[in-house]
Symmetry: C2
């Protein structure tokens, strides 16, 4: 949950004055998202989300994210649409932060995903990958294999304060993944953060995808591995093979996974688990000043990593 | 800002199923309010606020608060309206907490109130007091003069860790206020927490009052004193006599302050400053487990208290 920056009525009026959305009727901070400050804006012309991009988002990347949302929506992916101001511009500034208004998307995120939700998210991810194939911009993944060692350095030798033996396990996994990280698999736009709170449902039907602020150009199957981690484990951190099968089948029905991609899946899943383990570990050890964030448990991803290390092949994910 | 309790889709569906508001379209935690968990609910029939009452609100008081909102709205005060479920009941339970749905109120709260806003809030407060005169229920103020000493005891002798000399200043003020607290002034329903974030404006026009969860039966002029503290000081904690005058004139235009009420105002303002100093101090020293709250600075109210101690009479508030 997050509102890092509050906005005064004067700043807001000045900012919204450049948009054709009518008079402001309501403005409320939203307790969702952990990277940016989000506000629900009710104006005469409709409901919108105003996002203030905080320092963890590089301002130079914003045109990529916003153009991607427009590109995907043009190709039938339901996602928030950046609103153009009277000058045709989608990116402005408020309270000293880059800021954008996007359309409000109905739907709820699912606190306890079931098998149906996993199938739907697999299918939606594949559609996203296909829709992104002709997107003209690229953005390197800032949190991929080469970035994990410097990221881990920010934990400053304190991993064992979270759990004894964690430091050595991470060091060994970094060595292993740097040596054997899969290369040459199909690339494209990946969401890179398609967790349950970024997928909306209306009833059992997937109604939209949000939060493209980790999106980048990377291995498509890595995005699948992220979703396995994010959707297919139970609250006790055990892997649910039925959910995994549903997600992988949902994906494959839209975009077939090649033999090479399937073979790489356990390694990609280990990498994905390590990536979230490391970001959570760093956050856990150093909650930023002024942030109203309860850090997420890094050990959840350590347990997931252990599972993926034990996997013999894609069949263990429930997939043939 | 606050979402202390999250709600799963199953719990939500079960709860909303007893209301005639149509299918759920969206559900978002709101980063406002510090006592309860608030969610914005978009359903087919409209927009609502779902509030889960956390432990700081006594469940036995909820019927008072909810009935008061209905009573006030019947008398023309714009405030959230509790929604009755199919059994005609306004209070339910969700995620183990008492919960209610109220109507969504458009409007924005003013981060930097000006003189006009102070005049409007004075007038609205007086209207609230008049509208409450024939409300049939009563509720004792749980945070009035007799409660401050036990409240201070929760600071556990640690006041001087916040500022040297604070403990002695509080002890002396408690002695003084317990001896001389004004009695026999006109009583009625008071809001008791009419801070800027509980007053909505559309443009310069006051559009509604929210958050009646401190409302109680107490000295009406004490409510005026709370508003002087909440609205008429600048960010540097200096008292703005122009704002004070506007607030007091706005109030008096609707409900005249008697000579006794005017005379008592400096003491009531000291009491009000001490009340917020103490609750903030206790919060500051002991942030509750699991709460995603940044405690408010208790010293802001220590400075305000000092100002009120220096006041010779109501004229110093800008009022004749």
């Amino acid at each position: 949950m997050a509102v890092y920056t509050d906005v005064s009525e004067d700043e807001l009026a000045r900012f919204l004055g450049s948009y054709d959305i009518g008079a402001l009727l309501s403005f409320k901070g939203i307790a969702e998202g952990v990277e940016n400050s989000n506000f629900l804006v009710h104006a005469e012309r409709g409901h919108y989300i105003l996002t203030l991009y905080e320092k963890r988002v590089a301002a130079g990347d914003l045109p990529f994210f916003l153009a991607l949302m427009e590109h995907l929506a043009d190709r039938g992916i339901t996602c928030p649409q950046p609103v153009h101001n009277r000058q045709g511009v989608v990116l402005g500034e408020i309270a000293g932060r880059p800021a954008a208004i996007v359309t409000f998307l109905d739907g709820l995120w699912i606190r306890r995903p079931g098998v149906k939700h996993c199938a739907a998210v697999g299918e939606a991810l594949a559609r996203l990958h296909l829709a992104g194939q002709d997107f003209g911009m690229t953005r390197a993944n800032a949190l991929t294999v080469g970035d994990w060692r410097p990221l881990y350095a920010q934990a400053d030798g304190r991993a064992d304060s979270v759990q004894h033996g964690l430091a050595e396990a991470i060091a060994r996994e970094l060595d292993a993944l740097e040596k054997s990280w899969p290369r040459g698999l199909p690339q494209g736009v990946i969401h890179a953060d398609l967790f349950p709170d970024n997928v909306f449902f209306l009833g059992d039907k997937l109604s939209g995808l949000i939060d493209f602020y980790f999106a980048c150009t990377d291995t498509l199957a890595y995005d699948v591995a992220i979703c396995l981690n994010a959707w297919c484990f139970e609250p006790d951190h055990s892997y649910n093979v039925t959910k995994g099968r549903a997600l992988l089948q949902g994906y494959s029905a839209v975009r077939a996974l090649s033999a090479a991609e399937r073979e790489a899946l356990p390694l990609l899943a280990r990498g994905s688990a390590l990536r979230f383990l490391l970001t959570r570990l760093v956050d856990w050890l150093r909650v930023p000043d002024g942030a109203l964030v309860r850090p997420k448990d890094p050990l959840e991803y350590f347990r997931k990593l252990r599972f993926h290390q034990s996997v013999a092949g894609v069949r263990d994910y429930g997939f043939e």
